[in-house]
């Protein structure tokens, strides 16, 4: 459960987030909005990379803003980035092991968690392939597997489907729908693919110019005339 109240971020004269109130309670929540709406800024605030000038964030009853980015990882916050960041010189397994080195309780659980994450994303067979030998879908899967290590509680994904074709997006959708129950974690998803968001997310927050345009059950939100005008570009 993520509770956000009066969250404001200011860069000079620009406010990427402006008095934002929101509550993510569903196992899979969506975060959508036009370019520049403040979606990635919100993820950066949640991760601790951007400090807000005002507001509070509480994740599973823990006030987040007083914690360093590393402490946030310690309480189970994980994230992926818009650009996939798989290290070319490391194998798929080593890329995931690199996270386990720092977040798993001990070596035995690290081994177990890496194997389980590889299995979940379907890369067990390709675990020894170097990062540079993986295709885009496999690299995205490595990125997702990295977030599954060390008992995650909240996973933030920034456009995990970017660049994937229709079949791959469908495989991604089937994977993500299983994720909250398989790993007992809440998933917050940014994506421009409205169909992916509609089929996955129970709740969705729509941002526009840093403000909350709508929030609620995804279907209702996507049918909202204001949302359709601002985001989907049609009435």
């Amino acid at each position: 459960m993520i509770k956000i109240a009066a969250l404001t971020v200011q860069f000079g004269g620009i406010r990427p987030l402006d008095e934002l109130d929101a509550e993510f309670a569903a196992p899979i929540c969506g975060l959508i909005g036009p370019n520049g709406a403040g979606k990635t800024t919100l993820l950066n605030v949640l991760s601790g990379f951007v400090a807000p000038v005002k507001g509070t964030i509480v994740v599973n009853d823990t006030p987040l803003l007083s914690l360093s980015p590393r402490r946030r990882v310690g309480i189970g916050l994980r994230r992926t980035f818009q650009q996939e960041l798989v290290v070319d010189e490391l194998t798929a397994m080593e890329n995931i092991q690199a996270v386990a080195d720092h977040v798993s309780a001990d070596r035995a659980s690290a081994r177990r968690e890496v194997a389980s994450a590889l299995d979940f994303v379907g890369l067990a067979e390709r675990r020894n392939a170097l990062g540079r030998q993986l295709n885009l879908f496999e690299r995205r899967m490595v990125e997702i597997a990295k977030t599954l290590i060390g008992r995650p509680k909240v996973i933030l994904m920034d456009e995990p489907g970017a660049g994937l074709n229709e079949a791959e997006t469908e495989r991604l959708r089937r994977l993500l729908v299983e994720l909250p129950s398989a790993f007992d974690a809440q998933l917050v998803l940014i994506d421009h693919d409205a169909d992916l968001i509609a089929s996955l997310c129970m709740e969705t927050l729509v941002l526009d110019f840093g403000r909350r345009l709508a929030m609620g059950p995804t279907r209702a939100v996507l049918d909202d005339p204001d949302v359709r005008r601002a985001y989907l570009g049609r009435d």
Binding site: S47, F49, R70, V73, F81, E94, V99, H102, V103
Partner: protein, 384 residues
């Protein structure tokens, strides 16, 4: 003359049967060996495993060092010993640049710092050479970690300039204070005549020039293994994440400051060991041998040799010492070396893998072809 009437046919038959059994057994062992080798090769795969890499490191350094030890003496043996020390310094520089993308231009100053600490420790308590050497490594490691503090905030050109300034500061300091030579006080200096200078002793088992060269080669080998062990374990993976993206590394729970400091400490340790080995080679160190420009030469050697593989550091060290030594041998001004290095850098710009990287790729291809060929031929032999 053999009397045929005395021959026991039964015994001959027995011996014949035993011989046939022996031949059968030998054939069975050959077939079994072939099949086992085929199975082994098939299980080994064509990937370069850490064990194969370790064998390659030992083989290359072992063979090259043996050839040098058997064929060189005097001037060239001394230069190759220095080249191996240079390789250690480049190994540290390559670690920072290859693993974290950090340009450090104070590596030769750290070699000097390691030499200074090892001489200071030697003249104070006369410990065994290993202790002196480790003291030099640890001393330079601490200094390297301290000098690496700017790297926590800086990268690229700014970090390069700051570290170059530090190298300049060391050069000035060491010219003023000089290296300890066994005199009284902290600085350990003697009178102007210099007659009371005490030389640092080499290890007893490596007192000769050839013995000391082989000792330096063994230390170089150990240091390469130390770096390889880091690259393939937790710190290496953390460095890889940091180099890819610091934000991503933080999101993965990596302690950025700790792992950067670790890299600087390890790089300084290697430079310090090199300094101690140089002190052991000459018995004393001369302040004029630690100009700031040598730190730039080390970085050039890092690029020429290639910073992603151990072979790059080894070749970089040998090249950057071999070329000036050759120029001295040919009575050519050693500054011509800078022109040669400059021209060679054009090659490095064109191919960032460097000489070591290129050779490693070739060796990997050759190994894969060889294993594939052997596997096929053994399979054919093992087939009924």
């Amino acid at each position: 003359m053999i009397d045929l009437r005395n021959i026991d046919i039964g015994k001959i038959e027995l011996r014949k049967a035993a011989l046939i059994r022996l031949i059968d057994m030998a054939e069975a062992i050959r077939c079994f060996g072939t099949a086992a080798a085929a199975r082994l090769l098939s299980a080994a795969g064509t990937e370069i495993t850490p064990a194969i890499r370790a064998v390659a490191i030992v083989a290359v350094i072992g063979v090259v060092s043996a050839v040098i030890a058997l064929t060189c003496g005097g001037f060239w043996l001394s230069n190759f010993t220095q080249a191996y020390c240079m390789s250690l310094a480049i190994l540290g520089c390559a670690l920072l640049y290859g693993q974290l993308g950090l340009v450090s231009l104070c590596q030769w100053a750290l070699v000097g710092a390691g030499g200074w600490v090892s001489l200071r420790v030697y003249h104070s308590i006369h410990p065994p050479f290993f202790v002196t050497m480790l003291a030099g490594g640890v001393g330079a490691s601490l200094i390297g970690m301290f000098w690496g503090l700017p790297a926590l905030r800086m990268r690229g050109l700014y970090l390069a300039l700051v570290t170059l300034m530090l190298a300049g500061a060391f050069q000035t300091l060491v010219i003023v204070t000089s290296f300890p030579v066994g005199g009284p006080g902290f600085l350990g200096q003697v009178g102007a005549s210099g007659n009371d200078r005490i030389s640092m002793a080499r290890p007893i088992f490596a007192a000769s020039d050839t013995g000391y060269f082989l000792f330096v080669a063994a230390v170089t080998l150990l240091c390469i293994f130390l770096v390889e062990a880091h690259r393939r374990s937790k710190p290496g993976r953390a460095w890889a994440l940091i180099r890819k993206s610091e934000q991503m590394a933080i999101a993965a729970g990596v302690r950025i400051v700790f792992y950067k400091a670790w890299a600087f400490a390890l790089s300084g340790f290697l430079a310090g060991i090199a300094g101690a080995l140089l002190a052991g080679l000459f018995g004393q160190l001369d302040a004029s041998a630690f100009p700031t420009t040598n730190s730039i030469v080390i970085f050039i050697g890092t690029l020429l040799g290639g910073y992603e593989v151990w072979l790059g550091a080894f070749l970089g060290g040998v090249l950057t010492r071999f070329i000036p030594a050759l120029l001295i041998d040919l009575n050519v001004n050693t500054n011509v070396g800078f022109i040669i290095f400059g021209a060679a850098l054009l090659f490095a710009l064109r191919d960032p893998l460097g000489l070591g990287g290129q050779l490693s790729i070739l060796a990997e291809r050759f190994y894969k072809q060889l294993v594939g060929h052997l596997r096929e031929s053994l399979k054919a032999k093992a087939a009924p």
